[in-house]
């Protein structure tokens, strides 16, 4: 049963990715901005322009260009980046780990922070404590991630300069890695000073990305918990003499967490989208920062690769969320 669901989702994912591939390819050629026009130098004649177009494979008819590209994609060859002079696959593989570490850390922070405040708000319901949490949460919800990023820059990099502002690691420490998962590798190999430096670089971008998601989690989970707390099984547990904290954690949370988990999955995709701006502000070398340069330079092969990668990530997250929700909820599992 589960296998057929997974197979179905994978089939849908491939169809979606095929659609994304067509759309991004066509869109790039329709919207203004030609990579050759971006680099052509004053004084170049029509023959020079034609030679450059041929060099980058932009002289062929569009269907032929698409066929060459999509045939490569199927075999794992996404082409060569116009600006970086390297295979797109290699570039993406080198930048993705930085974004994954950042996004996952931000997700963890958001879940811990959001979950804790939702539980605290539930425990303090109908008190001034709940009002304070709701008010703070409204602010968190209203402010987007890039504003948090700028505020954190001013606070912790200028006013009280305790955190490094840009980059992923101190350049003096960025040696001896065999993978691009710097944080995970430094922890696993016991290079804790290096791990500390990486974390210090990640604190501000992580918090900027985590806060809006945490706010969503607080609001939804708290609402779900409040509803669960009115259910009969909670009442029964209360009659049995369970303490309030145990009621929330043991009785209400498991039933309330489903909707929050589903929405967190969707919001996580937005968080990954948010890395584009946040990575730029903190000069963090992930795929978000790379995407901005690719768009500015109209690096068609790189943009196409990035969009497909973002699409794949979103699909995988959604599949992962669906499977997790199904695993947690027996009713969905047998539906």
């Amino acid at each position: 049963m589960l296998l057929s669901v997974v197979a179905n989702r994978v089939g849908m994912a491939l169809l979606t990715l095929a659609g994304v591939a067509v759309v991004v390819f066509v869109l790039l050629r329709v919207v203004p901005g030609d990579p050759v026009a971006m680099m052509i130098s004053p004084g170049a004649g029509p023959a020079d322009i034609a030679a450059l177009k041929a060099h980058y494979g932009l002289d062929a008819p569009l269907p032929e260009q698409f066929w060459i590209w999509i045939r490569g994609v199927v075999t794992g060859d996404f082409g060569t980046s116009i600006t970086l002079h390297l295979p797109v696959t290699e570039v993406l593989a080198s930048r993705l780990p930085a974004t994954l570490e950042l996004a996952i850390l931000a997700l963890l922070v958001a879940v811990v922070f959001g979950g804790s405040f939702a539980i605290a708000g539930t425990l303090m319901r109908r008190t001034i404590g709940e009002t304070i949490i709701d008010s703070l949460n409204s602010i968190l919800l209203a402010v987007p991630d890039f504003i948090w990023a700028l505020a954190l820059v001013l606070l912790f990099a200028v006013a009280i300069p305790v955190l490094p502002l840009t980059g992923r690691i101190d350049p003096e420490l960025a040696e001896g890695f065999t993978t691009r998962f710097y944080l995970i590798e430094s922890v696993l190999t016991g290079r804790f000073a290096v791990a500390g430096d990486i974390i210090s670089h990640m604190i501000m971008p992580t918090v900027a990305l985590a806060l809006p998601l945490a706010a969503v989690i607080v609001r939804l989970l708290k609402q779900s918990l409040k509803e669960a707390m009115l259910q009969d099984y909670v009442l029964l547990a209360r009659i049995k003499g369970f303490r309030e904290l145990r009621l929330v954690l043991q009785e209400a949370l498991r039933n309330a967490v489903g909707p929050t988990l589903a929405l967190t999955g969707v919001q996580f995709t937005f968080l990954i989208g948010g890395t584009v701006i946040v990575e730029r502000i903190f000069a963090y070398p992930g795929i978000g920062n790379l995407a901005i340069d690719a768009v500015i330079n109209r690096d068609f092969p790189l943009i196409q690769g990035l969009v497909l990668l973002f699409g794949l990530i979103f699909i995988l997250i959604n599949i992962g969320v669906d499977l997790t929700v199904a695993a947690l909820n027996p009713r969905l599992r047998h539906a």
Binding site: P32, G33, D34, P35, A37, M38, M39, I40, P42, G43, A44, G45, A47, D48, I49, A51, L52, A54, H55, Y56, I82, T83, L84, H85, L86, R95, V153, L154, A157, V158, P161, V162, L163, P164, L165, T166, G167, P171, A174, E175, L188, G190, F192, A193, V194, A195, G196, I199, S200, E279, R280, I281, F282, A283, Y284, G286, L290, D293, I296, R298
Partner: protein, 511 residues
């Protein structure tokens, strides 16, 4: 399986927390043997001869740190020996000669040779090689090497060819090494003959360079230079203000004024070889000379510079900045709204019945670009010009300009680090150039003969005459020469470069 004892766990936690609490450097902290530069753009590629990066003026400072150019350039744009110690033409100007510097070695220790020079030119000249200015180098052929001297034929006389050797793509790469590792191998481990060697690189994050102990020009002031790629201006301000970086550039003028007054920081903001201008595309109302001249006379450039750019900029009347070879201070286009009104009236336009057209501009691409155009549109309105502002992305500008489809007026900036009139007025105004907007036979007839003029004095005077004619006809609206703000720690000494390239090896030292 990892087995971690309690002691190890405690030590690890201590290490983590300790490293998190290491205090950041403050603005007043002294600069050590490492120079940290908060740089405004990313370095996408290490190949200075092909691809978009090779013609990107903003990253030439990095290229000049790693590689050497055939001909060097002083901060005032004057030329000086680079990897060539001498160069010139034969009497009938059908051949060039170049003397190659001796005793130079590549970063891998192998000797630099005349073959490297020849191979570099030939690589750049290949029409299918991906060099956006291949046509420049394609004019040199039939090389002969005799000792340290190289001679070659030129297909036709190009008075600017040696200036290009100090300009975009004018770098020498190692023939043997490049052929051995290939283009992608070179991207991963580039070597040059320059003052610094690549030590570590992470795209969109940083480039760490180590001083080249065998550099022919002497050891640079800093053992290590780190270019941090910080494209966000707010973050660059924070980098210098917090002391995380020792020097930065291209910050907003407001922040520049605020920070240069701060203890521990200094600033320098001088004009560079980059101008702001408004392209005028022929056709429609722009074919009316009165309209064009009214546009130029109605713009108060001094006020724009004073009010919007806090005084940082130089008003210009032609596409030649004061440091350029064909600058002529006698050419003036005064701010004269009364004259503008009169000119428009002669064509039947007034404030009540204004001439209408669209002006395109970027927003945030250059300092206060959109605000400048807003101000100009306001000034135009006062004399009887009703311009509609259309914002576009710079990529669209290039595409429209190449296809001669820009709006009647379009804001742009134009760099010219070698200061020659061909690379400013020439390419911006000659109709055969893909970057020109005004296409007319009268102007082409004046520009055409200058491309191959062999008498240098006559050539420069010719371009001055062209600039005067353009100003009289109102074929373009030059606005201002930009100034580049640089902020740095007070224990540094910085020499501003008119080309705008902040080269750590030669222009930054300890005070």
């Amino acid at each position: 399986m990892f087995n971690i004892s309690r002691r190890q766990a405690l030590a690890a936690s201590g290490g983590l927390i300790g490293s998190l609490l290491v205090p950041q450097r403050f603005a007043t902290a002294a600069v050590g043997s490492t120079l940290n530069i908060a740089y405004n753009v990313n370095l996408p590629s290490f190949d200075p001869q092909t691809g978009p990066s090779s013609v990107n003026p903003t990253i030439q400072a990095i290229y000049r740190s790693i590689f050497d150019q055939y001909i060097g350039q002083k901060p005032n744009l004057a030329f000086e020996p680079g990897l060539l110690t001498g160069w010139g033409w034969n009497d009938d100007k059908s051949k060039v000669w170049m003397d190659v510097r001796e005793g130079v070695v590549w970063h891998d220790g192998t000797p630099f040779t005349p073959e490297d020079v020849v191979w570099s030119i030939q690589r750049k000249a290949k029409p299918d090689g991906g060099n956006p200015v291949a046509f420049i180098w394609a004019g040199i052929d039939n090389f002969k090497i005799d000792g340290k001297r190289i001679t070659a034929d030129v297909k036709q006389y190009d008075p600017v060819i040696f200036k290009w050797m100090a300009f975009l793509t004018g770098y020498v790469l190692p023939k043997a090494y490049f052929e051995k590792v290939g283009p992608q191998g070179f991207e991963k481990k580039p070597i040059g003959t320059g003052p610094y060697m690549v030590d570590a690189y992470e795209g969109n994050a940083y480039l760490r360079l180590k001083a080249n102990p065998k550099y022919w020009g002497g050891k640079p002031a800093f053992e290590t230079v780190v270019f941090k790629f910080v494209p966000d201006a707010t973050s660059r301000v924070a980098e210098i203000e917090s002391g995380s970086s020792d020097i930065t550039l291209e910050v907003p003028y407001e922040e520049y004024d605020r920070l240069k007054a701060k203890t521990g920081l200094k600033g320098v903001c001088t004009p560079i070889s980059d101008i702001g201008m408004i392209f005028i595309t022929n056709g429609g109302v722009m074919d009316d000379k009165n309209v064009r001249l009214a546009m130029t006379h109605a713009v108060d450039k001094d006020t724009i510079i004073k009010k919007l750019l806090r005084g940082y900029g130089v008003p210009i009347a032609t596409l030649e900045a004061p440091e350029y070879a064909a600058f002529d201070p006698s050419i003036k286009v005064p701010y004269d709204p009364a004259m503008a009104t009169k000119l428009l009236a002669a064509s039947g336009y007034s404030k009540e019945k204004p001439v209408k057209f669209t002006i395109q501009t970027t927003r945030g691409f250059k300092p206060k670009d959109y605000e400048m155009i807003q101000a100009i549109v306001g000034m135009w309105r006062n004399v009887g010009i009703d311009a509609n502002i259309e914002i576009y992305e710079i990529a669209k500008h290039f595409e429209l300009r190449m296809s001669h489809k820009l709006a009647p007026a379009a804001f742009y900036n134009w760099g010219n680090a070698i200061g020659d009139p061909t690379t400013s007025t020439g390419f911006a105004m000659f109709s055969k150039s893909p970057h020109s907007a005004w296409h007319s036979d009268d102007l082409d007839a004046k520009i055409g003969p200058l491309w191959g003029e062999k008498d240098e004095k006559k050539r420069i005077q010719g371009w001055k005459d062209v600039d005067k004619y353009i100003a009289e006809q109102g074929y373009v609206l030059p606005l201002l020469q930009y100034a580049q703000p640089i902020l740095y720690k007070s224990d540094l000494k910085v020499t501003p470069n008119v080309s705008g390239a902040l080269q750590p090896a030669t222009l930054v030292s300890k005070a």
